[in-house]
Amino acid sequence: MTSFNQSNKDLGLKLITSRIFKGFGYATWVEVDYFVHTYGKTYSRPEVTDLDVVGIAFDGDLTMRAIVAECKSPEQGAAEDLLKLLGALNLLRASRGYLVKERIADNAREVASRNGVSCLDHEEALRLLNSLEPDAKTKLEGERQGYEAWTAVINNLRNDQSLSSVLRYLRRDFWIYKAWQNLHNLLYLSQNVLLPHLNPENENHRALILEFCRLFNISVLILCNSVLTSRLGQIEREVEVQAFGGPKARRDRERLYDEITRALPKRNTIPNPLDSRYLSQLKEVVTYYLMSPLAASKTPMALQQALFQNYLGVNNMYYGTLNTEFSEVTIKLAKDSSELLVGDDSGKGKEFLSQLLAI
């Protein structure tokens, strides 16, 4: 598993690639661990691979596009790196892959191009970056500062045992669960772990909340795409169905709930988890997202900028502020999904979001 504590020889290439992906219009994550569920003698989740840079963006109809990069400084082993990348593309259902190395042999390039993978050596990556960014050097330095700032947050938090499940979810679980599962898991972690244990006065805690908002936003957008492509005229019903995995999965849960309530003594009936308060709020957020899908598609980038610029204080990562880079509607929608994640009756959630809400 990639550790934030180890020296990272490939970091330079990762940061260049992350910056390139941002230039393409993707929200990016550096160093994502990919695990799978297995059940041999016991249930476990062993690591499969680590993904050096992941980029996610959404089209105007909220179709998700993912791109993945493998960044390795040694010239040798291009073929192995390429195979690993192809596997990662398949796991994430990414549309495009990038192999970024100090130098890349011609035979590796040939194989890569036949498999939808672009190859960039160090010089080519810098050339591409310069073509995308008017001030590539400063922005690359900003990428480094952003990476270090976020690494510092994680390192400060990892000793807090109460947050271990949260950090694990952030780094690996999110990437293997389906979007609808992430919706429920993130909401659960938010209400049961984050809000009870975190302190709005703590900068690291605030940054962690924003990162969760970023992931939650991705899940909401994927849900919106499901609704848009299946039945846009029946948003309420489609959210009820798609938020639980589709018609069959929803029906299975209804049956399970019916059986449980039949088995429980009457005084112990549980409230219907398929009709929770957050579900009605989720429907409203999805409705507003689908009112302006083009603006909604930019929310991952907006939340990324909010995290690094407003919460981590990295100012040279972006050319302007959120107000100059994004429309009012995009900013508003970013706030909508974030408030849904951390909203609570005490108002503590809004304290975490105060910097975002003030934009």
Binding site: G233, S280, T287, S292, E328
Partner: protein, 418 residues
């Protein structure tokens, strides 16, 4: 004592009467109906901005001004909407403000407004006033009956009547049958229903109110489903509007409640809405090809697709709509489809028909409210309805230059530049 009003009805009534309360500056309203006025303002503002994502504060002030709400009222209303978590007010360092809208689009916002009003602990007189207005929404009533039913003291009843009269939400006339005072609400009743007097000779007011309530809960009720003597008499007297549809199941009549707060120039809209819903109800009840969806679903599909898919009974079932120039029949192969004629009036009538089918109540906006909402929508598209019934004794007249300034401000130009 009467049955307690639902949260939704509370919210609706508070919204309905608010325009009258806002238009009149009165010490009595400010002291005795303070909470009702406050929630009513929030309801009206919500109606103005519903359907938007982000609205400029200055644009909102201009639009609210059309509904006679000054900046103090708007600010107070925005505070309440923030408490409800329906808006965010974001102020930039330059001082410019914008309103980020989170008005519920799927949840019943009138229920939430009603709940909010209850949590403000309204005075008893406010509760009584709302109950009386709700009664008068159904049918004009004898004053003494309402006083007894809601156990209102003579002083409080005088206050309610006085406030109602000055705000244009309650008025009175002497009954031609017994000479006693009858209260009615100009918000809901444009004219004295003379046929009502004939009904009152035969039936009690409570019975008439119950009959109207029955129709309101299912607008477009078929006459074949009427077994109530009061309703039967109301239909025969012409007191309740009916629409006839003749198709494969034979000619049938469908009943509606009288129109609410409708000026003579807007009656056509309501007639069209009734006709639309009656045709759909016919399909629901009698057609050879039975409608399996709730009518509001079919009407939403008509609104979306601008047509009803071909079936064999379209020609007869929707002929009233052709006569009213709401749509046209088009032959497709061996069958017929109905196509909507997309005029603003027809679209408004369709929206109203959807509301009648789903909520039971409909509102036809008057021109001033329509203008207020359109001020926020430069494209000219009318999106939402705001209920108003305003007595414009002194309507402001705008010069061309003033109108240009208003439009520029709403378009986002800072007021200190203009």
């Amino acid at each position: 004592m009467s049955q307690e009003l639902t949260q939704q009805t509370l919210g609706v009534r508070i919204h309905d009467i608010n325009q009258g309360l806002v238009a009149v500056s009165s010490g009595l309203i400010n002291t005795r109906l303070r909470r009702t006025k406050r929630v009513g303002v929030a309801a009206q503002l919500a109606g103005l901005v519903a359907g938007e994502q982000v609205v400029g504060y200055e644009s909102l002030l201009v639009a609210a001004g059309e509904l006679q709400m000054d900046d103090t009222l708007v600010d107070r209303g925005l505070e309440d909407l923030q408490t409800l978590d329906w808006v965010r007010v974001v102020e930039r360092s330059s001082g410019a403000k914008r309103i980020e809208v989170k008005i519920p689009r799927l949840r019943d916002r009138y229920s939430e407004l009603g709940d909010y009003w209850k949590n403000l602990n309204p005075q008893e007189i406010e509760v009584q006033a709302i109950n009386i207005v709700d009664e008068l929404a159904l049918v004009p009533r004898h004053a003494f009956e309402l006083k007894d039913k809601y156990d209102v003291s003579p002083n409080d009843f005088t206050v309610i009547a006085d406030i109602g009269k000055s705000a244009g939400i309650i008025d009175a006339y002497d009954s031609p049958t017994d000479g006693r005072k009858i209260l009615y609400s100009p918000v809901y009743w444009e004219e004295h229903p003379t046929e009502l007097f004939k009904l009152e000779k035969k039936f009690k007011e409570e019975e008439i109110a119950a009959a109207i309530r029955q129709v309101r809960s299912h607008q477009g009720l078929s006459c074949d489903d009427v077994s109530d003597a009061v309703l039967d008499a109301a239909i025969k007297s012409g007191f309740l509007p009916t629409v006839s549809v003749d198709s494969t199941g034979g000619e049938k009549q469908f009943i509606f409640t009288p129109v609410e707060g409708l000026g003579k120039d807007r009656k056509t809209i309501y007639q069209k809405a009734m006709a639309i819903l009656a045709c759909v109800r016919y399909g629901q009840r009698y057609a050879g090809m039975r409608l399996i969806y709730p009518p509001e679903i079919l009407l939403e599909a008509l609104k979306r697709n601008k047509r009803i898919n071909p079936h064999s009974e379209i020609v007869t079932q929707y002929s009233p709509l052709v006569k009213l120039r709401i749509g046209r029949i088009k032959k497709i192969g061996t069958r017929w489809s109905f196509e909507l004629i997309e005029t603003p009036d027809n679209l408004e009538a369709l929206d109203l028909a959807i509301k009648l089918a789903s909520v039971g109540e409909g509102r036809v906006t008057d021109e001033r409210a329509r203008r207020a909402v359109q001020l926020l929508l430069p494209s000219g598209q009318f999106k939402t309805q705001v209920k108003t019934r305003i007595d414009y004794r002194k309507s402001p007249k705008y010069s061309i230059d003033s109108l240009k300034i208003i439009h520029a401000m709403i378009g986002g130009v800072s007021s200190d530049i203009i």
